[in-house]
């Protein structure tokens, strides 16, 4: 029986009222590849951050090689042999491979950095894990896959005993994935424990020994990979009905007119020939994994990013949308997934944030009518039941749900007809979530049309009249709510992988 490296029990973590981790548990043995799975927001990344000391837990305990630990920061966890390979690599493109590996602990000879020793050591390192990379080339010249191997080599050079791989294959090509798995095999031989985070089911079943599933910050269960099936894992990941169950059938009249029609939209790498229609009063759910191109599609439709090609029709008329200003003129509005970065002016008041899009309507003879602006902000925020002591309250002091409402109020003033909600309930608590759902349903009932991007399947199934599933920049399914279920959506969301492998 292999030794246990890591034991995390009942880890708790709360962010300003939102419970990210409730009672997360995890265990890792020597020479084991242990997959950590869960939907977006299930708490995987938070758990890893607690492990390596970026976040301090509010409760629970961590045992590392039999000793109870709580690392104060990442330097301590690294010193103890824990390395994390992030989805996005944190390395210096303008330094050589060897310099990247030994940054911060360069070998020194005669008060000078000993480059030849550094290169020799790097070569030895690459030999140990069996990859061919020239340590003298600039890191930026390597492919993402090779860069990842450099990062792994760096971890090995630090005598790492626990390696976390956070979606390592997201940006890799097929042969690169193969090479990565080969290296992981070598590391397994050396007794290094690996935590493997990925959404790709086929990779999990191939490489991992055990799978632990998390959901809503809670531990769901751990299974041996060879004693389970993909379906069982998917079921563990999504198997719950928290938000009042699935909508049974579409509320939209079959003959309702199309308010928005997108034909063959292409934009960059992540939006490939996307076509869809949005009917009046419809809630159209966009499901898919992170990086499937849903946000990119929305941003291209909205004119926030450049499109390469494609036509957009509104109420049957062709329109040209090259900037958000054009989109707003055509009655489209967009509520970003990242409110703080793309939605709010944090240092300004509720009133100023509400009126941001429509100041022009409240200027008479060159003077802004502040009283009228405050009145309309109050009216719309009152309608949405935004909880704020006054319109002059700084928006940063509001909770996530109320901040979201302020942005909805912004667009209500503007009287938009098409709402694009990108992850409308990210980072807001359960109570505010159901209010948000009611709000979207009310908007749809009023005849507004809604595109809702969400990574929470329960949310998609609860609200949508129709569901579009995207995978790697393409639409893989377009189904009516009556024929949708979680397993089916999950299947289409990972379509390429399943087809490619089986």
């Amino acid at each position: 029986m292999a030794k246990t490296i890591l034991k995390m029990k009942d880890i708790k973590k709360e962010f300003s009222g939102v419970k990210a981790l409730k009672n997360a548990c995890f265990e890792l043995k020597e020479g084991e590849v242990h997959a950590l799975m869960g939907e977006n927001g299930a708490g995987k990344s938070t758990l890893i951050k607690v492990l390596c000391g970026i976040l301090s837990p509010d409760g629970g305990e961590t045992e590392y090689f039999g000793e109870r630990v709580e690392f104060p920061d990442i330097a301590h966890s690294q010193a103890a042999g824990i390395s994390v390979i992030h989805q996005e690599l944190n390395m210096m493109n303008h330094l050589s491979v060897a310099q990247n590996i030994y940054i911060g602990r360069e070998p020194v000879k005669n008060a000078m950095i000993d480059d030849s020793e550094m290169i020799r050591a790097s070569e030895e390192l690459f030999e140990r894990i069996g990859v061919k990379i020239d340590p003298t080339v600039m890191l930026g010249e390597l492919t993402v896959g090779k860069q990842q191997m450099v990062e792994i080599a760096k971890a090995i050079s630090r005598e790492c005993r626990l390696l976390v791989l956070d979606e390592p294959t997201a940006a890799l090509t097929e042969p690169e994935v193969e090479e990565l798995f080969k290296i992981m095999g070598e590391l397994r031989e050396k007794g290094i424990g690996m935590i493997y985070i990925s959404h790709r089911m086929d990779e999990i079943t191939r490489i991992s020994d055990r799978v632990t599933v998390m959901r809503d910050g809670e531990y769901v269960g751990t299974v041996d990979t060879d004693k389970t099936t993909k379906d069982e894992i998917v079921h563990m990941m999504v198997g719950r009905m928290v938000y009042g169950g699935q909508k049974e059938k579409s509320n939209v009249d079959q003959n309702a007119p199309n308010v928005l029609e997108v034909i063959d939209l292409c934009a960059g790498e992540n939006v490939k020939n996307v076509s869809f229609q949005l009917k009046k009063g419809e809630i159209l759910g966009f499901a898919g994994l992170m990086g499937a191109g849903r946000t990119e599609t929305a941003r291209a439709v909205y004119g926030a990013d450049k499109k390469d090609s494609g036509d957009i029709f509104i109420n049957g008329k062709r329109v040209f949308i090259n900037s958000p200003a054009d989109a707003v003129k055509n009655g489209i509005c967009y509520l970003s997934e990242d409110r703080k970065r793309y939605g709010l002016m944090l240092s300004k008041s509720v009133c100023e944030n509400t009126a941001l899009a429509s100041l022009g309507n409240y200027q008479k003879f060159g003077f802004l009518n502040d009283r009228e602006i405050e009145r309309i902000s109050k009216e719309k925020n009152g309608l949405l039941r935004t909880k704020t002591p006054s319109m002059q309250q700084l928006i940063r002091n509001l909770s996530g749900g109320n901040q979201q409402k302020v942005i909805v109020a912004r667009w209500l003033i503007k009287d938009c007809d098409i709402f694009i909600f990108d992850e409308p309930t990210r980072g807001i608590d359960i109570g505010a979530k159901s209010e948000m759902y009611e709000l979207m349903e009310a908007l749809a009932a009023e005849g507004k049309s809604i595109i809702m991007i969400s990574s929470e399947l329960a949310e998609i199934l609860r609200l949508s009249d129709r569901i579009i599933v995207m995978c790697e920049g393409r639409i893989t399914a377009n189904m009516d709510i009556s024929e949708a279920n979680q397993e089916k959506i999950m299947k289409f969301a990972t379509l390429r992988n399943i087809q490619g492998k089986e």
Binding site: P324, V328, G343, L346, K348, L356, Q363, F367, Q392
Partner: protein, 343 residues
Amino acid sequence: MDNLIIRSKNNRFRFKFGQNYIILFALAALVLVFFLLNPNFTDRYNLVSMAQSLSPYAILGLGVTFVIATGGIDLSIGTVCIAAAVVAGKMYTSGLLGDNLWLTIPIMIMIGIDFGLLNGFLVAYLKLPAFIATLGTMMLSRGLSALIVSDPNIFFPGGTWFNRVFSNNNGIPTGIFWVLGFALICGYIMYKNKIGRYILSIGSNEEATRLSGINTQNYKLIAYTISGLMAGVAAIFWAAAFPTVAAATGNGMELDAIAGVYIGGTSAAGGVASVSGTVIGAALLVVIRNGLNMILAKFNLNLNSTYVTYVLTGIIVVVAVLMDVIKTGKRNKFRIRKREKKS
């Protein structure tokens, strides 16, 4: 100016106005110290002279406040101001404008606007970093004006209506009234017109403003154009106060004006601007320069007053901006935490 919006119970405005009190207090304290050390400091003659040199700095500051409010910077204002004065003055002295001294006014303003538009185009549409774009126009305007006008000095006529209207009418510092007038107009644009609101919104969160359907490029262009226009306007007051304009004078003028803006409480990160603070900040700098001059002269200290002024100004700018940093510190911490949570 700020009290137009002070009626809100918003902490930020209260704090901003609080900072106004602090610099007003600092200004009063400095005047008192200088008066005690050299009673001549508050001579009518000296006060008028200070008011005269205040006008161009305050007006440059008012203009660049709009750019700083967007989170940008305009380094070219000083050299554009001198370029406008030199070119218009040369046109007049060479007889090109005949006897019409008034024609120099629209010429100076037009030159300012042109450079402002150029800056705005480079920053808003070609997306150059503001520091680099305006550093370029700064050098460009200095070089071009010196090339066009080869004379080392340009003499505007002294003692004419021009000086009386814009600088000093028999001991009445007329320039100061213009400054107050321009401050009112700038306050109106900044706080009561959507142009200012959107400029401040861009400074707060440019991407959120753009995604709200605002044409942020246009508003940035407007901010830089206002800055250039005011540099042209400042040239009028410069020429009226100091009729001998040399292409080499006014080096570092932009830095004095910008320092005044920061001292006045406008945030270097954008989003928060104080128009009244800019005028008070400019006044503070003028008082320091003049006061130190007089003290050094009186006590026969063998120190170069310009350098002493720099030392003192430097300290004040750092302290003023430090206050801004402490004030926004909470927000920054919040941002960092947020980023950790996301990644």
